[in-house]
């Protein structure tokens, strides 16, 4: 079954985890390609962390099988662990130690050659921009800095797959942005990244493919675009016009190939399935030619949140 040459970083085949009578993860089946930045999206309690814990060999599945990095999860745990790195939800490192000391410790436990550890420590700390703080007690770091150190620690032994469990939770907006950028950067070097989050926006921004989970079940899987299309969501063009009438609205609708047009006072909302690249030009051109002044011009994308609600509501309806 094991297949290190597999094009998939992760293959889950119906893995389930029960705690007594409570089912945390229910029959999860999916595949993650090598080199993907893959997201698990869902509210708290959806089973994301349990899934990650299973895939990182920290918990055994009660049912099902999985291959991680081509190795069987249950039978070849040690090999799996040698190929994966983890950025857990909590800091999980020693605040009394400096970054260098923390990485030294992990290096020892991974039986890595000391010179390699030294070299990698320097490289990684530079990548996560903590090199200037390498001899400072990590307890003094801000949340963002701690997370970056956590990432460096996860990468120390050159894993093929990096699991990041809600890494931006609790960070200030700037740190969040920085961390996301870092994640994408890492992914570009070829590391498969499994990214869990409950922030729909974030998943939308960085994950190439997303698995939406709720109540332990996989609700939907695909790229952001696919999901939005699957859920039937559309773009919205919102205009503030100083005057309009029914004829104008109809024209606008035709012009943009909209599904619907609604208005409320000065605000006009056009729902468009596909956003054409020249739609802005066309609209402004038309309005200008017809002497309509435009106050606000907003184009909003469909959100995953909407997708999520749709997807879970659908489930309930069914």
């Amino acid at each position: 079954m094991a297949n290190p040459q597999s094009p998939y970083a992760i293959e889950c085949m119906g893995i389930t985890r029960k705690f007594g009578s409570f089912t945390a993860v229910d029959n999860l089946t999916l595949r993650v390609k090598k080199g993907e930045l893959f997201g698990f999206l869902g509210p708290n309690g959806a089973g994301k962390t349990t899934t990650i814990n299973m895939l990182t060999t920290l918990i055994r599945p009660t049912e099902g099988k999985a291959l991680v990095a081509g190795f069987d999860l249950a039978e070849q745990g040690a090999l799996v662990r040698s190929r994966i790195g983890v950025v857990p939800q909590s800091f999980a490192l020693f605040e009394e130690l400096t970054p260098i000391e923390n990485l030294w410790y992990l290096g020892e436990l991974y039986e890595m050659d000391r010179q390699t550890v030294a070299k990698r420590t320097e490289e990684l700390l530079k990548i996560v921009t903590l090199y200037d703080k390498k001899d400072v007690q990590s307890g003094t770091f801000s949340g963002g800095m701690k997370q970056r150190l956590s990432v460096a620690a996860g990468l120390l032994h050159s894993p093929q797959i990096l699991f990041m469990d809600e890494p931006t939770t609790g960070l200030d907006p700037q740190s969040r942005i920085a961390l996301r950028e870092l994640t994408q950067q890492l992914n570009q070097t070829g590391i498969t990244v499994i990214y869990t989050t409950h922030d729909m926006d974030e998943a939308d921004k960085i994950c190439q493919r997303i698995a939406i989970m709720d109540h332990g079940k996989l609700k939907a899987l695909g790229t952001s675009k696919e999901l939005k299309e699957y859920a039937g969501h559309s773009h919205k063009i919102i205009l503030e016009l100083d005057h309009h009438d029914g004829k104008l609205l109809e024209e606008l609708k035709k012009l943009t190939d909209a599904i619907s047009v609604t208005s409320e006072g000065k605000m006009v909302e056009l729902r468009v399935k596909k956003l054409r690249h020249d739609v802005v030009h066309k609209l402004t051109d038309y309005l200008y030619r017809h002497d309509v002044e435009v106050g606000e011009f907003n184009i909003s994308e469909p959100t995953l949140e909407e997708v999520f609600i749709t997807v879970t509501k659908k489930e309930l309806r069914d």
Binding site: L58, R60, E96, E108
Partner: protein, 558 residues
């Protein structure tokens, strides 16, 4: 920010799945070092850890086993006698109590006690001095503030010992008086004895004079009988001659001696011879009569004398008997006098010190303090070890590495073990420096015992740490184990004074065997092989805790 050229570095050198070795020395050492670095980095945790043994030994060195001093007290004197004054002045001179107030009434004293100004009130009742002077026993009243129980028991004990001291003083005084009286009684008896000591001599004098008098009397009687016989013979002769003469005169035909005097008178006219013979006879008869009378008197005197002599002899014998009694009484008085002098301290205690002279109490207490400090430190100190790391997630990272459970456990335990050994050495060092404690045995033996014991104690800490999920849970369980063990260690209260159940429980505590083993080496100077029993038990203790740790150590997160 990194760019594409970083790419190779991040994916290079893929780690080949390593096999977990059960015991990996490199990793064990890494864990020990890591723990040390973590501890070093947290000064707030580190400093009390180092200071604790020092604090412990200072507390025990200076505080424990000391004699309490200066308990605030007051005195009420209702007696106003010389005796009560002397009691007051003696009390004021004691270290144990500090007499802060002299009050007029018991109520005043109680008011001071209510305010907390004094803990003890001494009351000397009226008439105490009189009673003591007249040889009776008397009581001093003592009121102790029970609400402060630790001071109360000490105060009671001290008051009783003061009273005992006082009693002993008074007894000594009385005994001295008795002794003096006995001495004077003895002098009197000696004098009496002197007089009655002449009794035997008097007796023999009386007896010999009795014998002399009896012999004189015998002689006198003999002489008298001789002379009486002679006188009678002479009278007879004269009478015969007179009779002859009468016959010659043929005047009287017959005569009788009775009628001799008349015959004599009638014959007077007849002749001078007859007259002179009659005169002679008459004087000889008078002489006989006088002799007779003399003898009768002498007999009477002799009888009287014998009677008196017998009486005197009898009295003399009686006084000899009383002399014996006097002698016996005299020696008894002598004994009373000597005993009285020694009555106050008949039996003393001379301590034979088996383990060297001049050692202080702290020397003997040190092994138990050491055992207790190690036990406490190890059981209370491992909260962060597994439980804490599990909670904060750092243990998770360790689980992702090829590190076996045994390695994790041993690495952690060895660190804490080393810590305890260092702390113990510090404690012993401070004990030696500050209190001049002397250690008899071999240093390596001592460290060996400490190490084995610490392994077991850290074992307990490990068991608790792997069983619990958070540091708070750990502390709760650790307290439950360590506090009772502290009291059963024998450091604060001797185990022998506890009820049998607790003594039995103490037998199950490793601390008992560790203290025993340490005492063996540090106080008695045994080499290690003599305390093998204790060593084996401590090793067993470690083995059990290690096994339990392995059983309870969960690698899975859930």
């Amino acid at each position: 920010m990194a760019d594409k050229k970083e790419q190779p570095a991040l994916t290079a050198q893929l780690h080949n799945g390593a096999v977990e070795h059960a015991i990996d020395l490199r990793k064990i050492w890494a864990i020990v070092l890591k723990n040390w670095m973590v501890m070093k980095g947290d000064k707030v945790r580190l400093i009390p850890l180092i200071m604790m043994p020092i604090v412990m030994i200072i507390i025990f060195g200076y505080a424990a086993g000391g004699i309490p001093k200066h308990i605030p007290a007051a005195i009420v004197d209702y007696d106003h006698s010389d005796f009560s004054s002397s009691v007051v002045s003696q009390m004021s001179g004691l270290d144990i109590f500090s007499i802060k107030y002299f009050v007029g009434t018991q109520d005043e004293g109680k008011a001071l006690m209510d305010k907390g100004e004094i803990k003890v009130l001494f009351i000397i009742p009226q008439g105490t001095g009189e009673r003591v002077a007249s040889g009776q026993s008397a009581n001093l009243d003592v009121m102790v503030d029970e609400s402060d129980s630790s001071v109360a028991s000490i105060a009671k004990g001290s008051a009783q010992s003061f009273a005992a001291q006082l009693s002993s003083q008074i007894t000594a005084q009385r005994l001295t008086a008795i002794s003096a009286m006995a001495v004077s009684g003895r002098a009197d008896l000696a004098a009496a004895s002197a007089t009655s000591s002449s009794a035997p001599a008097a007796q023999s004098a009386i007896s010999s004079s009795q014998r002399a008098v009896a012999s004189y009397w015998t002689n006198a009687k003999y002489v008298n009988s001789l002379s009486s016989a002679q006188t009678s013979a002479t009278i007879q002769g004269l009478q015969n001659s007179l009779g002859y003469m009468v016959d010659q005169n043929e005047i009287v035909s017959s005569y009788t001696p009775a009628s001799l005097s008349t015959a004599t008178l009638s014959l007077l006219a007849t002749g001078d011879n007859q007259q002179s013979v009659l005169q002679s006879i008459g004087s000889y008869q008078g002489l006989a009569a006088a002799q007779g009378m003399l003898m009768r008197d002498a007999a009477g005197i002799y009888a009287n004398y014998q009677q008196a002599a017998a009486q005197a002899l009898g009295q003399s014998k009686a006084s000899q008997v009383s002399a014996r009694f006097i002698g016996s009484a005299e020696s008894k008085f002598s004994t009373i006098s000597a005993s009285a002098a020694q009555a106050t301290n008949p039996v003393g205690i001379q301590f034979v010190e088996p383990y060297g002279y001049g050692r202080k109490g702290i020397d003997f207490l040190l092994p138990a303090i050491l055992a207790m400090t190690i036990f406490q430190g190890a059981t209370m100190g491992l909260g962060r070890a597994i439980a804490g790391e599990r909670k904060d997630g750092s243990l998770t990272r360790v689980f992702l590495t090829p590190t076996s459970n045994v390695t994790i456990i041993l690495g952690t335990q060895i660190f804490y073990l080393m810590l305890e050994v260092v702390r113990s050495c510090l404690l012993v060092l401070v004990a030696i420096m500050l209190f001049g404690v002397s250690i008899t045995g071999n240093i390596t033996d001592i460290i060996f015992i400490i190490a084995i014991f610490a392994m077991g104690c850290t074992g307990i800490g490990m068991v608790l740490s792997v069983m619990t999920k958070t540091q708070d849970q750990y502390m709760a369980l650790a307290m439950m184990i360590s506090l009772p063990s502290m009291f059963l260690s024998g450091v604060f209260f001797p185990v022998q004074t506890m009820p049998p159940i607790l003594q039995g429980l103490a037998q199950f505590l490793p601390i008992t065997y560790a203290a025993d083993a340490l005492r063996g080496i540090m106080v008695k100077g045994f080499p290690a092989y003599l305390i093998m029993n204790d060593i084996l038990l401590l090793l067993l203790f470690f083995a059990i805790t290690f096994a339990l740790t392995m059983v309870f150590f969960k690698r899975e997160l859930a």
